[in-house]
Assembly symmetry: D3
Homo-oligomer: 140 residues x 6
Amino acid sequence: MVFLTRKAEFSASHYYHNPDFTPEENARIFGKCNNPNGHGHNYTLEVTVKGPVDPKSGFVVDLKQLKDVMSREVLDALDHRFLNKEVPEFLTKIPTTIPTTENLAIAIWQRLAPKLNRAQLHRVRVYETPDLFVDFYGEA
Amino acid sequence: MVFLTRKAEFSASHYYHNPDFTPEENARIFGKCNNPNGHGHNYTLEVTVKGPVDPKSGFVVDLKQLKDVMSREVLDALDHRFLNKEVPEFLTKIPTTIPTTENLAIAIWQRLAPKLNRAQLHRVRVYETPDLFVDFYGEA
Amino acid sequence: MVFLTRKAEFSASHYYHNPDFTPEENARIFGKCNNPNGHGHNYTLEVTVKGPVDPKSGFVVDLKQLKDVMSREVLDALDHRFLNKEVPEFLTKIPTTIPTTENLAIAIWQRLAPKLNRAQLHRVRVYETPDLFVDFYGEA
Amino acid sequence: MVFLTRKAEFSASHYYHNPDFTPEENARIFGKCNNPNGHGHNYTLEVTVKGPVDPKSGFVVDLKQLKDVMSREVLDALDHRFLNKEVPEFLTKIPTTIPTTENLAIAIWQRLAPKLNRAQLHRVRVYETPDLFVDFYGEA
Amino acid sequence: MVFLTRKAEFSASHYYHNPDFTPEENARIFGKCNNPNGHGHNYTLEVTVKGPVDPKSGFVVDLKQLKDVMSREVLDALDHRFLNKEVPEFLTKIPTTIPTTENLAIAIWQRLAPKLNRAQLHRVRVYETPDLFVDFYGEA
Amino acid sequence: MVFLTRKAEFSASHYYHNPDFTPEENARIFGKCNNPNGHGHNYTLEVTVKGPVDPKSGFVVDLKQLKDVMSREVLDALDHRFLNKEVPEFLTKIPTTIPTTENLAIAIWQRLAPKLNRAQLHRVRVYETPDLFVDFYGEA
């Protein structure tokens, strides 16, 4: 049983706003992140899969397939996007899902988990900045 | 004569669009960066000043003053902002200044140079991503 | 259940010396770190908390509160300090607690754990250098 | 119980080829890595050991001993080597063990685990590039 | 006048050997790098171009064109290759050009300079490891 | 003409104090750095030499010799030291040389320049932290 992690980057913008909060609550809880024009980040994504090593290839997962799934399911949908306006998980609805790093990690897990048929998804890590990151292991 | 460099980070969003271009030109020249909703980056700014070392303090520049100038003139204006909509240098006007990394480095130079009274500004470096950066030395 | 990690840096000096050891033992076991004048490091601290995501804010923890607790309980006490001479956990006493990276991680855990009332402290990681770090999960 | 991790680097070359595969299978599965002349990497190795902190030294493991074991058992054997031609675990034999990052992590674990007599080996992490790494915890 | 730098990575293997040297000289001068099987590195390439900013696009150079030139002229030729056996500049000949970081930087300059028609090549930087790099400015 | 840069790290402690200043001036000008117990850093040193490439070896400088000079002249004297108390350039004297990053870069230049007989010293860069560094080119 080994764990293999592959990194990728994407650039996106977002803002934090809950329509159920008063303007004062939004300002107090979200601070500068409440600016409705949005601001952005170079996100770094780490996807970890686990499984036994195939004795013929020496691989736990076909790296090209993993890269393709990450590109198709995650990067194509999030890169160069305004998360609140263009990504279904975060479109304004009732109740709103705020595009925090926490919710972004969960959304990426839900996009990837059903598409990885051989290796098992173990962890999704999302760095919003080099000094702040979130890990999600698929556990409610 | 020594050169001292201080780094700082800010997060902002932007998009590339020239109203003098046709939609086809905007799409061809700017690609994904033409998305009008914007996307974002964790920018890294490096400010380099030069000068002789003060024999009493051992400093080429008072680090606290340098930090204050960088915060007041640059970070307060750019951090957590949509550059095209909120930063004067890049507001839509005729002709438009596109908020590329090149133009961002020049704008930051112009903000800092007149405010550094003891040390001399030598270089402004702006990283848009870890793999792309621009240097400006104030030379036309 | 998500895990959120925030990094911070501090600069401190220390040295390794056990008064119960002979001078030869101190020299053999601690090598260059036995220099009583001390030497220093840019420490990097990673604090990981875990908990469910608040559906209203999208946060597992209020980032500003976490930052304040880290500053007040850890950085204010350790930054720009000589650990052996100024930090209570490492003051010379019988028996002495050597300010190794191991003991520093444990001390930081003990400072933080009782102050985080909403999220649960999961891990304290301390880098002494980019090539050496210690993790502590609060388990005896 | 604390976990201490030490990093080290080595430079090696390798290629991927399974003599039981047809040339077409080797090309399809291994792509550019199938080039028999080999190509190379700056590998980064992270070795994590766990154990209680010795109250006299403040150490979970003698860092000098750990460094010596890593050098003697791993770096001396792998650094500046062509893995397929010079490292016993990967010499062409039936069946072949392909020198993938997965198999390299397992081989390093097997080299280190019996040589660490005080602390217990917890994890071997091998970075092939900054964007790809494998973890092995010794579990079949 | 601004300077724009773009990074790229490639993985290659090489060894150092001068057929005009005696075996003892090769061993003494090149050490472990003299191993004829080769060893490898994750090279990092930084290409810096300079020029005025195009007022319409805000670009000093079309980033896509720069990326294409770097891929076609450098990465396609060097990535996943054994430099001594597969790259024309370093094939064994009389006199031999040793594939040191110095000569690699010069070779990459010579490949790129004639292909950049709008912006002017300013500097080629090649990192062999994170701790060793060479800069070449095209000056004999 | 190529430029080759080699990095090295050392850990040291220091404090800033000018006996010609009043206590109030020392506190105001040096802030937390005025703590007489000292605090420390993991310094990163980059030494750049320049010269033509030797056609026989492909080297601008013998890397082993460069490494030996850096170790003997700089690292052995500074690593694991309290700069103010143990390094001649910074010992308390009249007038005092404060061990700022600026003065440290100059001191390292003066130690290295006369010892590099083949290649010419071009630049000394010293990082006090990842966010603050000084360059010195030997020019008064």
